[in-house]
Symmetry: C2
Subunit: 304 residues, 2 copies
């Protein structure tokens, strides 16, 4: 994502003249304005002190159980008065309320469009285009690995085939259990609820059931009845708090939630004034995730 | 739409303190700030002169063959330095380029979110959330009457049944030919192309074929093969100009374009940086159209 983002910044340099003041990586070292990569900075504090960025784009790998170290990095950026864009769902799923409070206190902006739908407008859509609207709930199919595995089972392939296919597409980890047990969807569900419904929750509070119990036989029997299964994320605002769930749902095969395949995503927002309105993203990849980071960066630049 | 918009303004008065300075209607007369409806103003000029609005919300009925009288009304509002919101697709389909130039010259804003998807974010999404993106094309299913009639034929009902059903839902006119011959879709296609692709076209330039030739027998035969038909709008940017079409397309019944039913709408934008990203709106009605006008009005207020 970082490399795709750098390419995009370069391509759009004329219309959007952002300047990269420093790049900090775990494996390739740290570069400051001189341009050459040198040894990795000793700490994030040292890096931020030398780099003095106006906007920090945080793209570290996710620790799915805590959202760290991204949460700490983002807090440190806020403490120095930098705006932050993250493509990392962990901080939004685990610590959105605290991070938002820190940003508010420091008078800086915080953006995270790429965290739930690979860069398609969701959070910025609600912020910029749905004034006065209250999000009452949402329904989404947001996990790619589950879609690929379920489609494989449906056409008679094995679990192993499905997982290998997802891995060869670059969307499933060596250990795909994070996706298949619903944790990825739960993190996105918690993130959406935190931002859109002020839920102050974490993925641990999401009722969660993955697709591990689905068998090839079941998928093929459902196909014969023109039905299918999708791993569906749901959020609902209650009188007190929210109800959040991730679970496999049996659907008519023509159900909108059931026809979204591969890395494509769908998120429907249930609102008070605009009814049910949604975003769909078809086959997004790393370039789209990078675009989400870019659009967030522009959104911040417009607001300052 | 006007009444729903007035209710919405009243409901959101506290957070969005817009003031209605005057209301001009064909049937119910004209009201100025005093509040009472009196005789209808003699002309749009007389009305604008007395009302002196900052923002004009234009919600007149569509003349599908010309976009008038809305185009003239909007021009007159611009000439007086008023911003304009319209829910009327005619002006956008027939005269967007001229209107936009007039708005630019006068330094005023022009918004029209409700014209193609009943208020769901499309134009404001591109404007506010997709910076730097070029729209290369689009694919949409945007006409409700066609969806209702095709669904009726598919389940074995007659053309007359389908049309009556659409009429009872309040979405088809007494003469439904405007919808069924594809003119409504062509107007939306031209409007989308004018705004998103600078096409400077009109509905007359859209290759257009309606659903009038589809028979109940054909729809049922397709259903047996797990196929369906949808009236699809397509736009494509060419080296010189654009190619625009509206036609019935035979689709797998699980195709995303085929599963959108009733008044629900789907529009996919094909872009350079964000791949294919779309908006879906489920069962919108007059309250959502009014919300689109409201969101446009807020968007203008934010920019001035």
């Amino acid at each position: 994502v970082g490399q795709a983002f750098a390419r995009l910044l370069s391509k759009k340099q004329k219309a959007y003249p952002f300047r990269i003041v420093a790049i900090h990586t775990l494996r390739h070292g740290t570069a400051y304005e001189s341009g050459e990569f040198g040894p990795t900075a000793g700490s994030i504090d040292e890096f931020l002190e030398k780099a003095r960025p106006e906007i920090v784009c945080e793209l570290t790998p996710l620790n799915p159980e805590s959202g760290e170290p991204a949460i700490t990095y983002i807090q440190k950026a806020f403490e120095r008065g930098a705006h932050v864009v993250t493509a990392n769902k962990g901080p939004i799923a685990f610590a959105f309320h605290d991070l938002e409070q820190s940003a508010l206190q420091m008078g800086v902006q915080f953006r995270f469009e790429s965290t739930c739908m690979d860069g398609a407008p969701v959070f910025n859509k609600v912020r910029n285009n749905l004034p006065g609207v209250s999000v009452l709930g949402f329904t989404g199919v947001l996990n790619s690995t589950s879609k690929v595995v379920l489609a494989a089972l449906r056409r008679g392939a094995t679990w192993e085939d499905g997982i290998r296919e997802a891995q060869s597409m670059g969307i499933a980890e060596a250990d795909p259990s994070y996706d298949l047990e619903g944790w990825d969807s739960a993190a996105k569900t918690a993130a959406l609820a935190n931002v859109l419904m002020d839920a102050r929750t974490t993925p641990l509070q999401v009722e969660r059931k993955g697709i591990a119990g689905v068998t090839p036989q079941q998928m093929q029997a459902l196909a014969a009845e023109r039905k299918t299964i999708a791993l569906v994320s749901r959020g609902e605002r209650l009188d007190h708090g929210v109800r959040l769930s991730v679970q496999p749902e049996i659907l008519e095969e023509t159900n909108l939630l059931g026809v979204i395949q591969g890395t494509s995503n769908l998120l429907l927002l249930h609102t008070d004034l605009m009814g049910t309105v949604g975003t769909v993203s078809i086959d997004p990849g790393v370039d789209q995730t990078a675009y989400g980071v870019f659009s967030d960066t522009v959104d911040i630049a417009r607001s300052i």
